[in-house]
Symmetry: D2
Subunit: 388 residues, 4 copies
């Protein structure tokens, strides 16, 4: 309801790398970009296979002269042409995130990039530097931070409603890799269980980072160290499909994080619970319009998106009234809406308004450090490992 | 996931009547039209106030030469120009639905229209005739029929999974009119409680028709008669804010329907339960990704959108994997996606594929008969009243 | 926790009529009577079959000289003997409630009786008179009124937390009579579908009265008239297995009541919702430790038995801390605990404390009037029928 | 329903140590012992304060000549008298469990004992030996194992419904020690945070052991090692109020366990999730009548106590029909009912039937080893520690 429609007459010109036919996340990004009508998709290098790239572009209405066979060519050509793209969405498998991002940043184009941000920590550190140097907007699509009640949770913690935070419980169980789907034809399973394309982490990179990022986003806490146990339950799988982590935050708070791809009956069971000296919060991704809040000594409250207990920080990123559920795509769209605000501000050389929030390149680096520390801790026999 | 992207390169040219600044449902229609990228909004008569119409158009990127001061002018001009709009969305208060629809149908333009369809039954009957005569596509936005698990519920009933239907329980409680909001500045409350703009029904027209339509959509039953008690609990309110109805369906099934705008704690509590000789179903709009199903003598099953128990009829109108919730806007978008399929088929002079489902002008007439019968039954002292 | 243990050293001597081997509800009453240790079961006429009566008595530890072959003999003998029973529990099929109650009241023995209280309204009226004349305690086991959160709901309504009540929604769906179980060997189904043993009502007497009583208990409203549609969905079943009722309460509140024995997937789905000008409540028997409460304009609250939002009226009838669920038997036990308090007060010739609450013979009469009015309304073509 | 009433005429003579006025758990044990009518409480040493012991005994109907000022005297006197007690319930603070148990076992009296069983592992080992030597029945009241759906969960795992177990997630959050209640007059808080009376573990002993025992009971897995982090969040509290544990089971399964007394909004949030190669289970103590089960590739099922998906192992310990909730006290009563079966079998010198299940002295030893290992692991810097 409160998503402002201003400037949609002047949409941001967007390109996309990856997301051709058969991909899942590319279509999600495109819908997310359309929902608030701030972008117009005009160029793409949708597949590393030129024929599929062209066919995919035609299918979604990208003119053939702006469908490119390679991201490098696209970055070059779009930077050179008048009214070339202002921003690019990177929706490739993980190993391509960093090279593509570098190419477009270097060409002066803003970047919206999927997570995990890179394959390695040094790559991520280099990207942080490049973003700083170029001054371009870099948005990492930790899309769950776009849910209205997550925004509210963060605001409530920041406002002290929970007191001093003591405990964080984050989990993200799934079951789609319970059996070796990567050996029975699932493209999604193939690259996600392949170290060459996914990096050193399996479940930890794919979903563990989401849980980790969400915990940090809401709690505002910085991680001091972690102790991780990564497991591959499916024989022959080279990457972890289950992750169990203990967390120590600066200031004394402690956390547990569990992510799994073999928890039968779980679809996308991302859940976050935060407890402080004065209150507690609970939120579940499958039912994102609800936020449970208890003030110590008071009754439990079920705060609803758009309802009487909603805060402005939730209302700001909400489109329909309470009781009409918003979902995954709307949360994702909020990341794009925030990106749009940042890009419009950048047009004028200004930073965006203070209320504009999105996951940054620094969050991407933190996520890579989290993955690296978890892998190292697990390999060293489950010992405390610093994230610094 | 299975929403095909074909032809989005060739989007349907859409206009809108109503939905200017300050309106709620216009923005919803626009998002819904964008989500699956089948439409491009190019013209509008967004307000009956010319200045607001122009400002609203500018804001959302409608060229000024296609922003009209009246719907009549818009119908005329768009029909006359090359590449004029192929379809119009009517999102005005109720009393304008019929005149606007007539104008565009007469101009050879397909219609997507909000509900309730008209103010009176004769108006609705005339519209049925006009649609038949013109051969144009007419889609009524009973948007809840677009939810994937509602599609599945309908398919399960049709396939006999519940046996012979005995009972239908439909309800739609809200609380936003608990107090006289129409006298404290709510525009939404003002026109919805005004007989001149809403027709003879208040809650029954605004939300009762949704519950009624959904019950028919899922159960496949035809109503024989109803017995209604309409109440205005808020003193001075000229239209009902609470509706209690008994239903008799052809073949012996029976139903109850409750709609209320004064049920404190309810947001948009649309809920449908259907029971047959062999099984039972339960669905709730606030949590639309779930469908409870019990086969008599078996355990309860929680079927999830995209999950293991999902049917193709649900999958066909689903965009993201199970466990990632879809919501109100996606359900609404499905109405638009189905409209697009029907309109594309109409371009070739064909009916759409059999699997394409949308609420029709006949459903609109049924809804008007439902409202009229309920008002008549209530005024006659709560007696059985035929819908014929 | 707050159930006082006082006087358990001096337990009330209790007899039972009905409840022999194979009966369900007799065992429930016995557990309920034991939980708070206020009664000791010392006599019984457990079956109309003398052999079964004796065997049943032996099994549960009733001395053989106090196991009777008939209730009449039992009333006579126990009244005559020193330290005979002070109270009797009547757990027979419906048609025997009144004759047994009369016999024991006449013998000066307090009565705890199952519902529905009698077969007919005149029988019930006569019982009201007899209770008044004898001055004995008469407790009707509308056991759901014993749930702590129902006590709280009643207290909240009485305290004005909901404002003026507008709407009551009561329902009690089950599915155990979906098929003709009475013809396939279910004793429970046999007598409950037999007018000679159940009276004029099937579902309405068995579960409809529970829903009706609970609505009255919580809302405090008096019924003016009802309009009922009773249906027997299973061919050949002489009594209703589904009940749909509209209610008008004195003062203008309105209600709907649904009870069904053919709603597949429903076990004992008793649910009550009450809405007033200032607040709304919702409670479900299957999850009885929770009470949803919303103050208009405030967030939803989930009040829990024993939790921070619990009222003293709930705490008074609670045995274990919040988060440790109490259930059906504890609610039933509260009826017995209240009966004990009334009986102990009666020993001293005093009325019980004001906080002691239990369903009375007057509630039993109201229930019979409800059944009679519903049957009459339904037979007359679903017309408004007074309960007076 | 299936709890047999046999022999209640011949109830087991029971004594109690602890549980005088002001205690919570003593009253729970007494209700639990009464529910299935297998015991009669005839003797007690209810308090270490003689006056309170006598007053408490009088209040609950224990004859004054069998109210003892010390447990030692009680053991001696009851063993000596004809028709002395056959079993004793020990409901004291933790530090007295072992001495009292030893005294009664030595006197030839069966023992029903609260958990954690002792203060130290050697004490527990000695008790195992003593039970073996005396041949007496020893039942540890890990009461949550008495819930019907927990029995079913165990049976389903044992029957292979989940395949090979991979993951166990157990948690038990509470919030009642969020603030230093032990310094503001809570007796319960005082002894539970006092190492002299509670032993080396706080939350881990009080609730962590419950979660640990339940995980083992259902999964059937044996623990190889654990890695624990114990925290005292409340300044000055000498024992842990939060416990985070990683678990390695023999055979390769892994687990996480969290118990907390400072998780605001949690009452008694015991929850168990078990995942195997073929299926997954989820159960929550606050809603104990439900068991979620998913077979990989199938829809989620909500199995209900007494419902269509209930197994005989659940039905065996169930008292009322599906949809009528049972709770904490009934689960606790099942421990007593099983104890009664074991004691009756012992009267005849036989072991109980194979279907009789209760937590044993060995489970008590396992619990003490769990506590000791967790404390050791935490003190050593969170390293893997064997339970052997």
């Amino acid at each position: 309801m409160t998503i402002d429609a201003s400037h949609t007459a002047d949409r941001i010109r967007l390109g996309m790398v990856g997301g051709g036919q058969g991909a899942f996340i590319g279509a999600v990004h495109r819908i997310a970009a359309r929902i608030d009508d701030q972008f117009t998709l005009v160029a793409g290098a949708l597949s590393s296979d030129p024929a599929r790239a062209a066919a995919s572009a035609a299918e979604i209405g990208i003119p053939s002269d702006r469908s490119y066979a390679s991201y490098a060519e696209m970055a070059r050509a779009e930077a050179a042409r008048p009214h070339g793209i202002e921003a690019v969405s990177i929706v490739t498998p993980n190993h391509m995130h960093a090279p593509v991002a570098r190419a477009f940043l270097a060409a002066g184009i803003h970047v919206i990039c999927d997570k995990p941000m890179t394959l390695t920590v040094p790559e991520a550190e280099a990207l942080v530097d490049l973003v700083a140097k170029t001054g371009k907007v870099f948005v990492l699509t930790h899309n769950y931070t776009g849910y209205p009640m997550i925004r509210q949770a963060r605001a409530m913690v920041a406002a002290g409603e929970l007191g001093e935070i003591r405990l964080v419980q984050a989990e993200y169980p799934q079951d789609w890799l319970t059996e070796p789907a990567e050996r029975t034809g699932s493209k999604q399973a193939e690259w996600r269980t392949d170290p060459a394309r996914s990096g050193a982490g399996g479940a930890i990179g794919d979903i563990g980072t989401h849980a980790y990022n969400l915990a940090a986003f809401v709690s505002g806490l910085e991680t001091e160290a972690l102790l991780a146990q990564l497991t591959s339950f499916v024989p022959g799988r080279p990457l972890d499909d289950d992750v169990q982590i203990l967390l120590r935050y600066r200031g004394g708070a402690r956390g547990m994080l569990w992510a799994s791809q073999v928890a039968v009956g779980c679809e996308n069971g991302l859940k976050l619970r935060v407890y402080g000296t004065k209150g507690g919060l609970e939120w579940t991704q499958a039912d994102p319009n609800y936020l449970w809040f208890t003030r110590f000594g008071g009754p439990k409250q079920l705060l609803t998106r758009g309802g009487a207990g909603a805060w402005p920080q939730a209302g700001r990123v909400t489109r329909v009234p309470g009781g009409h559920p918003e979902g995954y795509l709307e949360g994702f769209a909020t990341i794009y809406a925030e990106a749009a605000r940042a890009i419009r501000a950048a047009r004028t050389g200004q930073p965006p308004d203070a209320e504009v929030i999105y996951p940054t390149v620094q969050d991407g680096l933190d996520g890579m450090r989290f993955i690296a520390a978890a892998v190292a801790s697990s390999q060293a026999g489950n010992v405390w490992t610093s994230l610094a």
